[in-house]
Subunit: 260 residues, 4 copies
Amino acid sequence: MIRAVVWGENVHEQTNQTVRDTYPDGMHACIAEALNAARDIEATTATLQDPEHGLSQARLDETDVLLWWGHAAHGDVSDEVVARVADAVWGGMGLILLHSAHFAKIFKTLMGTPCNLTWREAGERERLWVTARGHPIAKGLPDHFELENEEMYGEPFAVPEPLETVFISWFQGGEVFRSGLTYRRGAGNVFYFRPGHETYPTYYDENVRKVLVNGVRWAQPDAPRLKEVHEAPNRTVDTALEPIEERGPKLHADGEKGFR
Amino acid sequence: MIRAVVWGENVHEQTNQTVRDTYPDGMHACIAEALNAARDIEATTATLQDPEHGLSQARLDETDVLLWWGHAAHGDVSDEVVARVADAVWGGMGLILLHSAHFAKIFKTLMGTPCNLTWREAGERERLWVTARGHPIAKGLPDHFELENEEMYGEPFAVPEPLETVFISWFQGGEVFRSGLTYRRGAGNVFYFRPGHETYPTYYDENVRKVLVNGVRWAQPDAPRLKEVHEAPNRTVDTALEPIEERGPKLHADGEKGFR
Amino acid sequence: MIRAVVWGENVHEQTNQTVRDTYPDGMHACIAEALNAARDIEATTATLQDPEHGLSQARLDETDVLLWWGHAAHGDVSDEVVARVADAVWGGMGLILLHSAHFAKIFKTLMGTPCNLTWREAGERERLWVTARGHPIAKGLPDHFELENEEMYGEPFAVPEPLETVFISWFQGGEVFRSGLTYRRGAGNVFYFRPGHETYPTYYDENVRKVLVNGVRWAQPDAPRLKEVHEAPNRTVDTALEPIEERGPKLHADGEKGFR
Amino acid sequence: MIRAVVWGENVHEQTNQTVRDTYPDGMHACIAEALNAARDIEATTATLQDPEHGLSQARLDETDVLLWWGHAAHGDVSDEVVARVADAVWGGMGLILLHSAHFAKIFKTLMGTPCNLTWREAGERERLWVTARGHPIAKGLPDHFELENEEMYGEPFAVPEPLETVFISWFQGGEVFRSGLTYRRGAGNVFYFRPGHETYPTYYDENVRKVLVNGVRWAQPDAPRLKEVHEAPNRTVDTALEPIEERGPKLHADGEKGFR
């Protein structure tokens, strides 16, 4: 059983009638429901408003894959929680960033780039093309699928070159966007997936739901969580794997911790 | 003329007799001298102790490639300067990280990973192997070269998969390390180069100097600095490249700035 | 159940007493036995001497992952079988290349490079370092493991930059080598794994066996085999996804096949 | 001075009135003229009809970057010349593949994949988006540019994941395509650039010409041509870089050539 946590910002569901009508229990609940329909995934939810945003260390320790949707309140996410999530990813937890999470602190932290793009909210047609046939995240999908109403995101998208580009979107207004991108950061798998503007029923779409389920399966860790993700061990001369003699001048005493 | 700035932490040169003897004018001066020997590079220096660490906005605006050596005082580098350097890289400035700069704030910021490794200070032999023949950074180098005394850095090295692995090091004590790694972050080229422990005369080595010169040439920008590296422009319906009509519900008023 | 086929050249097992003593039933049998110890893998064998080298179309159609060991007789493998295996990989079959298979026709075909390297047969110590912690192929392995006697392979190794470098080897004689490399070719996953010289008992090593099992699991396809891997369909104007009108001069009649 | 050779198939220029009218001296002549407008490039041409297709060993030895346009007669290119070009690339010669050269033997050889795609010849609008700001090949280009009439090429495009995706195309009929892709193969830089259907005046477009010039500069070699691109040298025990003793059983006599 893959333990997924769907994190939702849960702001526009409270403040915007369209969003509330579309996702009466919150977008996070809709996404979790999509995941729970898969037999091998057990998804729960967490929101910005929960204590520690619902992401205590204990919770993260029990999470295989975290999905993240945020938009209006990126700045309200505490730096401490972001650092905690980053540590979990580096230790092996999978992370899936959805739509406007391109500007989430955690995504910018893991990418090392501004993650900016161009955008337009016009309910235009988006068509996603599979560019990595055979990739686990594209399993069971046709070569392309459409979302009749979506927000446009356009290139250039300031992210690092991914391991693989899984989807590219075509937009009615003339733009393109790399909509499915995979990365590894430390021991953790990271997947960015573009669709999901809150005023449209995107997370009810069958193809989108397939991508989410596939993404969780792909992102799940293959090993126990690494604990010491920042450790830089001093391998001393006497414990060296091959016999060596110490030579030349030194800064450090034996077994001393390095600078950082 | 490529305008390079060599940033040196300049701490151990002041506090350690071996380092002072090896690099009497500071490591940064030695590196700058190596670069200035190339006809197409004009290198100056900056240090931690300078106002704004020698990296004012005006200075960065006039810098094509920044080289960074730090070790004992990563924590003393101001977050404001780190953010400024990151912006410059995303806008197109080249950045070369040297040796213990693997733990520099700017490197961790750009990589999105902990950048940790294992290490041993025993003056052992390092042999660097070229793994990307034909790469501009390997120009004029033999298939391998040796440094008789170096600090060991060992895998796993917690960095993202690079664009290309240019060098891999063999160490006498039994370890290996990816010693030359290239990345692009935004419009900027980033190169990590491993050798250069301060107690050894590494930066006088002819092959190391070739790598530094090659690295600066490779990392230099090909276009004017991008100014608005965080901008996320709203491409409105009326300015769309293809004629579209607005459909469906909206969050944003026309021309409104997006959330971030 | 993952259906694996272990292809062995099976030449030195017949002609060299050391190899015969080490692998009395052939190297392919030893590798298949290692795989069959995993509950989710069902491995059979095929050899150069079998009709169609044991790789008929029907057999490949029923194969999820093919493992390939060859050395002395690369030239004896029929071009027709190589083309058939390449088609299967492009359609989604996983392929694992072992040791001297770096010079196998199928590997050179899929890489698009000469795949040459340096080598020495001296029974020296090899130490493999994990460079992609958290990668499924490294599951359950320590950060490094040793093979007391192996043939040396040295860089530069003329292969394309991989998706990920999973292992790097240290050799006693002073060389390094990228020993675990992943690729996708078409819909198929490809993994090169270095160890396995026929005069040493490498394929009895527990860590090596773990890598083989992990490799098969990683390389298995996630979708039914693609059939038309060379097809270049003409999407005519009347079947276009968006309404367009034909404009300008043409070479081709409607629905005509393209040149190739 | 960068020595470029533009190879043109030169078939439709002879057989199709539209193509002849658009490119009266041949497409290759038009492309060479565009390159020769740059001060640092000296471009000549070669065609299928020349002896050895104009690509003798002597000519390739004097070529820094080869550009390749072919469509109707891929099958008429001799395998011997293809092998010769591949050797030159692996040795360091740059190679730029244009449009329908996606099905050229040399491209399929270097990619190790079928290189197929979908297509439509309807003179529709293509818009190319820069996805790697700061890349030398995008130098001086706006974030997007248009070609009013082009043939459509659509994803999935069966090529390996590139080093970097420089351009992605939007098509009026609803498709997208990765239109600018970089690779290294051996010591040689390889660039695929999509536009250039022979019935349209694409190679007169100023932005396209900029890409061609940028591409040649990017692809030029940084070192003398490697000669022995298939050599696999035996590094014997007595010439090992570190002192080792021979141990264990052997297949090969000292200094013997390896199998291939």
